[in-house]
């Protein structure tokens, strides 16, 4: 068993853009480069956080890992096995090994199914459990794993009869019921009340320790990422710009984008509440269809120089230990 449960190398996902007639005639192809060369390793049993603003490609990365989307390029290795392009038969097995928790617990369950049916469905699909009774027992067990007590009561309810937190617990139970190795959690708490967020994250962490799971935790929220993850990767426009231990990345950010993200976090501390923050960033996110030449962050970077515009895009380089950054001027900043 290797140390890394998931290895992703230079992963790419380009969506073709619908072309006009003249584009077709001129043989001009254009793509939205949602994910444009992402490389990372996820260690067994860790929580890997993928952070970035909307549209940076973090959800697309998650869906590629879930095999809901086919990658355009790159390589994926799960547990030492190549899974970039796999057969339908291997996919069935893959679906048992890799599970997903969706962002919106309101929408991720069929409104006409009871919680019991929602949780029994994966068992039916993968033909787990001899009969209905056995499956119901497994459902009850999964519900108690996510601390929905008493399970018998929740099993008979419809999703709309549950609170957001309870629903997300039920959704988590659905992903756990097949005993996966790896779970992609796509902003699992962003739609949940602040008051229950910590509770859900705590539950997820407990479950992770009990069952030795590995999470890919996708979020735009730096504070939960810091609290929850073991490694943080910051994405910008389809690429990872900084990666490392949460303490290193959040407390000593090296990439100007990470710095901007961190300074944008609201702090409910007296004296700072009403101040309009001076965020060291300019402009808007460029379209993923027209990624800037050179360093892709240069148009928004307050430290950008000519070399950032004209020279090749910087690769991730080691700052110290596991802390990596993709900025050629990080030492000067």
């Amino acid at each position: 068993m290797s140390e890394n449960i998931f290895e992703v190398k230079n992963l790419q996902k380009w969506f073709p853009v619908r072309r006009s007639m003249t584009d077709v005639l001129k043989n001009r192809l254009s793509y939205v480069k949602a994910v444009d060369g992402v490389t990372f390793n996820i260690r067994r049993g860790e929580i890997f956080g993928l952070v970035g603003e909307s549209g940076c490609g973090k959800t697309t990365t998650g869906k590629i890992l879930m095999k809901l989307l086919e990658p355009t390029g790159g390589q994926m290795i799960l547990d030492g096995q190549e899974v970039t392009h796999i057969t339908a038969e291997r996919l069935r097995k893959y679906r048992r090994e890799v599970q997903m928790i969706f962002q919106d617990p309101y929408a991720s369950m069929n409104p006409r199914f009871r919680i019991r049916d929602v949780l029994e469905e994966p068992l039916l699909i993968h033909k787990v459990g001899e009969d209905h009774q056995a499956r119901l027992q497994m459902v009850a067990k999964a519900l108690s794993e996510v601390r929905l007590q008493p399970p018998e009561e929740f099993m008979e309810r419809f999703p709309h009869m549950l609170s957001g937190g309870q629903r997300q617990r039920a959704a988590t139970a659905r992903s756990l019921i097949l005993n996966p190795k790896f779970i992609v959690a796509d902003e699992p708490v962003s739609m949940i009340d602040l008051s229950t967020r910590a509770e859900i994250l705590h539950m997820m962490k407990l479950v992770q320790r009990e069952l030795q799971l590995t999470y890919l935790y996708i979020t735009h929220d730096l504070s939960t990422a810091r609290y929850f993850t073991d490694t943080i990767a910051v994405m910008y426009l389809g690429r990872i710009v900084e990666m490392g231990d949460p303490d290193d990345v959040i407390d000593h950010p090296r990439h100007p984008y990470t710095m901007a993200l961190i300074s944008a976090v609201c702090e409910p501390v007296s004296g700072k509440v009403n101040r309009i923050k001076d965020v060291p960033i300019k402009g808007e996110v460029p379209s993923a269809q027209n990624i800037p030449q050179g360093c892709r962050f240069h148009p928004r970077c307050v430290y950008a120089k000519d070399e950032c515009r004209n020279e090749k895009e910087p690769e991730l380089e080691i700052v110290e230990g596991r802390h990596l950054v993709a900025c050629r001027r990080y030492k000067e900043i």
């Binding site: 309101y106 006409r112 994966p122």
Partner: protein, 467 residues
């Protein structure tokens, strides 16, 4: 638990349905039709309507083209009702081996317009001679006919005054009517019954006044051999009004016919609508779910079917194949399923983007499972509404095909009745009660389903009930 949920959701649905008035009207009419259908054996005056609709002998005792009975309520002159006189006074005289049986009927005539005929029905065996005498309240006696009867076991001999006594009636007329008036009529074209029940005076043929009172009809039958028998002598008086909806030119009771048409209309409507909506829903969902070039290809196939006009195809198909009701339903289904495809596809496109579909896919569910367990259940409410809206169309198409003479001639449908009315000259002869009831039934049944469909649409469509 399951049953309780079902009952709960039904009562919830009913509470919403109750608020739509037009839906309630439609449902009321539909229930009324169902009751008529269930009680058809009790309600239909002629129990063998379904099997012997086109058997002329079955309807022989009815008046031809008689008004519905309720016409008397609205008319100043009362039309004679149809009746059957079953209990004659019998007397028997013996002359050696010959026996003379005399059957005397009394008919109380209190109408303004005379009955259309008098029919004597005799059962028996062997041969006999018969004289029919008609005595009026004013004392006049008319010898109607003398005939030889040859009777067979089980058969019925019918002596019709309208057919057999024209000459005798003409001679009776000659005694009172003026010479000028007599010249206007030929012996063979007069209506004997109209003369027999009119006051004996000048102009009794042109402008007859009714002679009300007790009439006596006497049938004297001479049996020559001892083994010959006579039984069940009846006098049928076919009136000028008959049954709830009158009779047609072939003497058929239209009420029985219209009643028999209900089940076929329901069958055609429901079966066509259910089959074609089911096919359309599955097709539309699959097309939406697969997407890409498969979707495009399926949409082109759909457009081909959609752009073929149904009526000409139905006419050609009915001409080529044996025009049976099942063929007709099949052909209608083949061209009708396209109706719901576009809407269902657009709903499918919307539903397939829902997160729970993606979540199910992430669990490894097959396309089959996603389509049939997750998408189609959400479209079922819509499909009920669209089924209800499809039914009237199917009924009208069957009627159109029947009206063109290409329908199934072995069953009684409203379209078939209309077809007979068309060929039987209902319009020229002003037999409105042959045309309006079946036409109205088609319209009312169509309306009831349209109302139900609109109500369902109103309740179910806006929300789609995804959460």
């Amino acid at each position: 638990m399951k049953l309780k949920d079902l009952r709960g959701s039904i009562s919830e649905f009913w509470n919403e349905f109750r608020k739509v008035k037009s839906g309630l009207v439609g449902l009321g009419i539909f229930v009324f039709f169902l009751l008529l259908l269930i009680f058809e054996p009790v309600l239909a005056p002629f129990s063998e309507t379904n099997t012997r609709w086109r058997d002329i002998s079955y309807w022989d005792d009815n008046p031809q083209s008689a008004y519905p009975i309720w016409v008397n309520f609205f008319s100043a002159k009362k039309y004679a009702k149809s009746s059957v006189l079953k209990d004659p006074q019998v007397s028997e005289e013996a002359f050696g081996t010959n026996r003379m049986m005399t059957y005397t009927f009394e008919y109380d005539y209190q109408y303004d317009i005379a009955p259309s005929d008098l029919i004597l029905k005799i059962q028996g065996t062997g041969a006999a001679m018969m004289d029919l005498t008609f005595t009026r309240p004013d004392g006049e006696t008319v010898y109607l006919t003398s005939s030889n009867l040859k009777m067979v076991e089980g058969g019925v001999s019918r002596i019709s005054v309208d057919k057999g006594s024209k000459s005798e009636a003409y001679d009776f007329l000659g005694g009172f009517e003026s010479r000028d008036n007599m010249r206007k009529f030929q012996r063979s074209s007069i209506k004997p019954a109209a003369i027999l029940f009119a006051k004996a005076q000048e102009n009794m043929l042109i402008d007859p006044e009714p002679l009300k009172g007790k009439y006596t009809i006497q049938a004297a039958i001479l049996l020559q051999r001892p083994e010959d028998t006579i039984s069940n002598v009846e006098l049928v008086v076919p009136g000028r009004v008959f049954g709830l909806l009158g009779t047609d030119a072939f003497k058929r009771d239209l009420f029985s016919g219209v009643l028999a048409g209900i089940k076929w209309a329901l069958l055609i409507g429901l079966l066509t609508a259910i089959v074609s909506v089911m096919v359309g829903v599955i097709y539309g969902v699959i097309s939406a779910y697969l997407g890409g070039w498969k979707d495009s290809a399926m949409q082109r196939v759909f457009e081909v079917f959609n752009s073929i006009p149904l009526l000409p195809v139905l006419i050609v198909m009915s001409a080529v194949f044996k025009p049976s009701i099942w063929n007709l339903i099949l052909i209608m289904c083949i061209f009708y399923w396209t109706g719901s495809v576009k809407t269902v596809r657009s709903m499918g496109l919307q539903i397939k983007e829902e997160t729970f579909i993606e979540a199910t896919r992430a669990l490894g569910a097959s396309n089959f499972r996603i389509i049939f367990k997750h998408i189609i259940p959400l479209i079922i409410p819509y499909s009920f509404a669209s089924m209800a809206l499809f039914i009237p169309g199917a009924i009208v198409y069957e009627a159109s095909i029947s009206l063109l003479g290409l329908g199934d001639a072995t069953i009684v449908t409203w379209g078939q009745i209309l077809r007979d009315a068309y060929t039987g000259g209902a319009v020229i002869n002003g037999i409105w009660w042959w045309v309006i009831p079946p036409g109205l039934m088609i319209a009312i049944m169509g309306m009831s389903f349209a109302f139900i469909g609109f109500a369902l649409d109103k309740i179910l469509h806006p929300k789609l009930r995804t959460r």
